[in-house]
């Protein structure tokens, strides 16, 4: 018997570790390319202030990078410890991108990050710039493979269930890597990181300008970050729309929950809910305000499409559950006898197998063959209800993310406009807004993940494997103990990050100059330095 409390505690533990980890990731993704941009200006203009800028922001990047790596490592192990059923079911497919991430992106990142920090006096300017770009590329490639793995959970492309091994087996590596969901997810997430990095640099620069400190340094940093952030925010909104379209095609229940659609939306006049208080228990809104003629073009990019609502999706889920129950019963029979007739029966209902697994939770003793005709309607109703994610959480996490995204456009637009006019210091309100907005893009990323992952429920692999069937069979005590340990450890990581970030941001960049000056030592590659060839180990 599967204990729902253990499943919920496993979910809570993974959600917390993922949300903790993702407080660091966006800054790494964004700051790495901002550093590359700053160093590019240094190489082009030869002005040492841009080297100072790369060094200072690089120091903050380094703090964030180290703690981000530490918090991310545990998550990969959690798949094995807390989600062993899931790992057994999709390990062949899901493990591949994770392994590539480790072997390709992580190794590349770790190698070049050392050269980036310690290679300033040992590499030529162009060589060091190339290293900085490689660090940025590797950080984002790391995110790419993780998001390909996540894309598989959202839309399992490139795999097929094998009833002999009882696992999902690879069908096409190309289909996995080029899955439209993985693609849209990667670009949206990566560029959301750029927004976070840009707001971080812009906000701290605004802090210096408000305090009339490091003006030369801060005005240049602000300019680069404002333009970087403005274009990134416009891109992230556009790419978010693409991801929403993807959800409309492959995850209709997620989209219905995001838009709070209880009834199907027909025709061009369907309203888009600006505000609503969805009641999951009663399956209706306690209150709502909608704007007509917005929903259909926004979601479907045309006027006539019908967008299925939650009631319609539940009706469809009931039909699929009947078919799924037959699939699981046939699968069990095939597993026991290897009877070709059982295999043929399974193949007939294979695509609804996930709904059969989902119904298991509501069957007597979690045994589908024990469902009597009298019990069937109740099992179908409960399964259909369970096939819809929590609407309140989905509706509001999506709206908070979108609302913050729109606010960022305003902050970056004003920041860029006044910076381009060199009138920034006449508008302290813009600088105060930039400073206060520093944590908001990270918050938006967190709400983005809540939207993505709450919307995937009740599945770990959408339509194939329910979350309920995916967890390991730990005891409740073990789960509470490990959860408490994770919360404590990760809170310490956050505290360390905040302490170091505040400390070094307050200390500022130190002495710097906007004017070019001759370098004290000519830049030469390490192997060109005197004495290198003679006993370099001494």
């Amino acid at each position: 018997m599967i204990d729902p409390t253990v499943v919920n505690l496993s979910r809570l533990q993974f959600a917390l570790t993922a949300l903790y980890h993702f407080q660091f990731v966006p800054l790494t993704l964004g700051l790495s390319f901002i550093l590359a941009a700053m160093e590019t200006v240094y190489v082009i203009t030869g002005k040492p202030i841009y080297k100072d800028m790369t060094l200072f922001w690089g120091k903050l990047f380094g703090i964030n990078f180290a703690i981000g790596v530490a918090t991310g490592l545990t998550m990969e192990f959690e798949f094995g410890t807390n989600w062993s059923m899931y790992s057994h079911f999709v390990g062949d497919v899901f493990g591949t991108p994770l392994a590539i991430e480790g072997l390709m992106a992580f190794f590349m990142e770790s190698t070049f990050v050392g050269l980036m920090f310690f290679g300033w006096d040992r590499l030529s300017r162009p060589a060091h710039l190339a290293v900085t770009y490689l660090v940025a590329l590797a950080s984002n490639l790391s995110a790419l493979w993780i998001l390909i793995a996540n894309g598989f959970m959202q839309d399992p492309a490139g795999a097929r269930f094998d009833p002999v091994t009882m696992r999902m087996q690879f069908k096409s590596f190309g289909a996995l890597v080029f899955s439209p969901d993985a693609q849209a997810k990667f670009v949206h997430t990566s560029i959301a990181g750029y927004v976070s990095g840009a707001m971080f640099v812009m906000g701290i620069s605004a802090y210096y300008l408000l305090r009339k400190q490091h003006r030369e340094f801060a005005a240049r940093s602000f300019r680069i970050a404002a333009l970087f952030g403005l274009v990134s925010t416009l891109a992230v909104v556009t790419l978010g729309d693409a991801l929403g379209r993807m959800d409309d095609l492959v995850q209709p229940a997620k989209l219905a929950a995001m838009e709070g659609l209880w009834h199907s939306a027909r025709g061009p006049s369907a309203p888009w809910k600006l505000f609503a208080l969805p009641d999951d228990e009663k399956q209706r809104d306690a209150a709502s305000i909608g704007i007509p003629y917005v929903l259909t073009p926004l979601v479907a990019h045309e006027w006539k499409t019908t967008i299925p609502g939650i009631y319609a999706l539940e009706r469809a889920a009931k039909a699929r559950t009947v078919s799924g129950i037959k699939a699981i019963i046939a699968l069990k029979s095939f597993g026991a006898s290897h009877d070709p007739a059982a295999l043929a029966a399974f193949r007939k209902h294979e695509n609804d197998m996930g709904y059969g697994f989902l119904a298991q939770r509501y069957a007597p003793d979690q045994d589908l063959s024990a469902i009597t005709p009298a019990l069937l309607p109740a099992v179908l109703a409960k399964t259909a209800r369970a096939s819809i994610p929590n609407v309140f959480v989905e509706f509001w996490s999506f709206r908070i993310m979108v609302g913050l995204g729109v606010a960022f456009i305003v902050v970056f637009a004003f920041g860029a406009y006044y910076s381009l006019k060199n009138e920034l210091e006449k508008h302290p309100l813009v600088m105060k807004a930039a400073m206060l907005a520093i944590p908001l893009p990270i918050l938006a990323c967190e709400f983005g993940w809540v939207t993505a992952e709450n919307g995937r429920q009740p599945w770990t692999v959408y339509g194939w494997l329910p979350t309920f069937q995916s967890a390991s069979s730990h005891g409740i005590g073990y789960m509470i103990f490990s959860l408490a340990g994770f919360v404590l450890l990760y809170s310490l990581f956050i505290a360390a990050e905040l302490y170091l970030m505040f400390k070094y941001a307050r200390l500022g960049p130190g002495e710097h100059t906007a004017q070019p000056k001759p370098l004290p030592v000519p830049v030469r590659p390490v192997f060109g330095q005197p004495g290198y060839a003679h006993k370099p180990w001494q």
Partner: protein, 68 residues
């Protein structure tokens, strides 16, 4: 000889970029958009800094002229 090697290396980079663009453009349009978009974002940020330097130089020159 050195120039020939340099030319060959750059030609290889160009071919790789073209191949990447064709494959990514055909199979992964969003990946291609990321490559092009990230390059564009970085270039816009770099241009904005170069513009800053030009503005600073102009403002310094104007200041010198008015003070003379």
């Amino acid at each position: 000889m050195k120039d020939l090697v340099k030319f060959g290396a750059l030609a290889l980079v160009l071919l790789t970029a073209l191949l990447l663009a064709v494959v990514a453009g055909d199979e992964g349009p969003w990946y291609f958009a990321w490559l092009v978009g990230t390059t564009m974002i970085v270039l816009i940020a770099v241009s904005s800094a170069v513009l800053f330097e030009t503005q600073e130089a102009n403002s310094l020159a104007t200041h010198k002229e008015t003070s003379q």
